[in-house]
Symmetry: C2
Subunit: 378 residues, 2 copies
């Protein structure tokens, strides 16, 4: 979680101007090895959307990672990083038919679907490909909860996969996503029970499914302690055995936040510390990065990043923390104020930890004229 | 509100690929003339952040507009468009001292402040400049409400402006912002009463304020009818007379949404229409633009844009409307579903109206690999 010595050295030596993310590749390599060690029989598809920096993709490709992509642009990034098309999944359930065709032309043959309409698009634009059907899970226990946007009720998945089979596609398996930053280990168990029921129902129709995509959701440590990769792997392995017995299917995971979240630190600066009236007990601390500059996941105060300052030994008091834009929605923490040193002042540097995932590409193009978040991968 | 013939012609003739915003400069010119006609004694500072397209800035500069800027980058855009520095306000209350110095070096001499700390920065980096103090208003009646992020309690404004005076700055006036998309005419009245009280308090200390910055908040028409510019102007003029009598101060307005909101239309495409289970009554309609592609103001379903299709004569039923990214938060309208034609299908084009403000620059750099919102100013 904390900034590594390499990151701190980089910031001290390079003194980059303005807010920036610094990502330590060694942490990502450690995370990849931890996943591979904990789940040796599971293929790892890194969720490119979490952080598509070319250096990250290239290193993961060289380590043997596969890639979960959300768009043709991400397919191209994975290919440019050295991944072969058989290591790429087009995991977005919402795809234009011409984008499916473009991915197919590049050799991609694994697609996510969650309805008959999407199956029909894949059958036309990527004939003969493998499809997996995403099912809905309840998302309880996740810090960044998933809505019902992706997936269908398990009852519908059989129809979707039978339609795929009928249209000449390979009905390959089931996927689910227990919710990002999922800390409740039982979440995987109930989803795997649903998956097994779909495997059985398909078998009755003479179609054998062979893969379960366990999705992502593996948490990164923000302020609260979270279970380690091994703990997750054990819980998942037990649930697989419980439901599938001796016929454990091929499995896939799609870590994004769990792969890169703890590898990055954002360096930012205090622009203003002020009060709203003379006797105000609440300080407002304004940083040079906010909701539109890369910290979009503070939406509804969902993700609470650790903020570290050089004055953390001093007394602390609660602050509202806000970004630098002229947008009143650009407030990071207000409902639950953030304890920061009473001595914090204009010009002080702060480190926002565990910001390796879902920051750079979330940044707005130029809102209020501010540049997107700069990033350094070291 | 609706797409103009020029916009429809452009889309028909050019058939741009992918989602895009088309802005009609003639509508903006009409809006500018309407503001100038309704408030001939008020200087108009266009809020650059609403839409900083160079064509828009250049036209408004040539029509005599002034510019409210949020950053040095926006100052440079206004200068590049032909505005002289005396027509530029650095209206962000949260500024790095080195950014104040950069604006001052370019000739900007009008700055917003809301606390003593910011006054001290301006006095060091832009000595002798004019400052106005932003005060808090309650924001009731605004669709996109303002938090307490900007401004201080009126009771503190006198201290802030006296400090400015003591440090050799010109204590120039008061600003407030009644909340974006404000439809309650009385909002201006109560804010002007506060402003007058501060003018009087300053006078007792021997300092004469001369300007009231009425802010923005002038609404654009989305789905609901809103009062016209003339109605606002009358309400404001009456309130000014009521509170200031014969000594009406110099006034400024900062329209952003009110200047460009109704001048733009986004062309988008239906990527998928699906249900979550076999007997689902809710359709999910997925577009190729969402919360991270330019429609950030659908956050908490705050702004409800008109969505127009070629099938609007057909029967309609409620839909959840969502964007194309693999982010479950990328849902536009769900709590209050949106009535769309039952015949709407994959590949259909939709027009999202009144999207000229707060769209292009809000778009994320490349979330999920999707390009930022393309824009054409015609």
């Amino acid at each position: 979680m904390a900034a590594t010595a390499r990151i701190l050295d980089f910031l001290r030596d390079r003194r980059p101007e303005g807010p920036c993310l610094v990502v330590d590749l060694e942490v990502i390599a450690d995370n990849f090895r931890a996943f591979r060690h904990a789940m040796p029989d599971t293929r790892i598809f890194y969720a490119v959307k979490a952080n598509p920096a070319p250096e990250i993709l290239k290193m993961l490709a060289s380590m043997g990672s596969c890639f979960d992509t959300a768009s043709v642009a991400e397919v191209d990034m994975a290919l440019a990083a050295g991944a072969t098309p058989d290591r790429i999944s087009f995991g977005n359930t919402i795809k234009k038919e011409r984008d499916i065709a473009a991915a197919f032309a590049r050799g991609v043959k694994l697609y996510a679907v969650d309805c008959v309409e999407e199956v029909e698009k894949v059958s036309r634009a990527a004939p003969g490909s493998q499809v997996f059907c995403r099912i809905l899970t309840d998302g309880v226990g996740a810090e960044w909860p998933l809505s019902r946007k992706f997936g269908c009720e398990p009852s519908m998945a059989v129809d979707v996969l039978l339609r795929a089979h009928a249209l000449g596609l390979k009905a390959y398996g089931i996927s689910f996503h227990v919710g990002s930053q999922q800390t409740r280990l039982e979440a995987w168990d109930s989803a795997l029970a649903e998956a097994k029921a779909i495997f059985d129902a398909m078998q009755k129709h003479g179609v054998t499914l062979s893969m379960v995509n366990l999705g992502g959701g593996f948490p990164t440590k923000y302020l609260k302690a979270v279970p380690g990769t091994g703990t997750y792997a054990n819980a998942i392995h037990e649930a697989l055995t419980r439901h599938f017995g001796n016929a454990i299917p091929e499995t896939i995971i799609e870590p994004g936040r769990g792969m890169v979240g703890n590898a990055g630190v954002i360096k930012a600066e205090v622009v203003l510390v002020s009060k709203k009236h003379a006797n105000d007990n609440n300080r407002w601390v304004y940083l040079d990065i906010g909701k539109f500059g890369g910290l979009a996941e503070t939406m509804d105060e969902a993700i609470r990043y650790p903020i570290v300052t050089a004055k953390d030994g001093d007394a602390k008091s609660p602050c509202v923390v806000a970004g630098p834009t002229c947008d009143s929605a650009d407030v990071l923490y207000e409902k639950t104020p953030y304890d920061l040193p009473v001595t914090l002042t204009v010009g002080d540097e702060v480190l926002i930890e565990a910001t390796g995932a879902y920051t750079t590409t979330y940044a707005s193009v130029a809102f209020n004229g501010f540049s997107p978040l700069a990033a350094y991968v070291i």
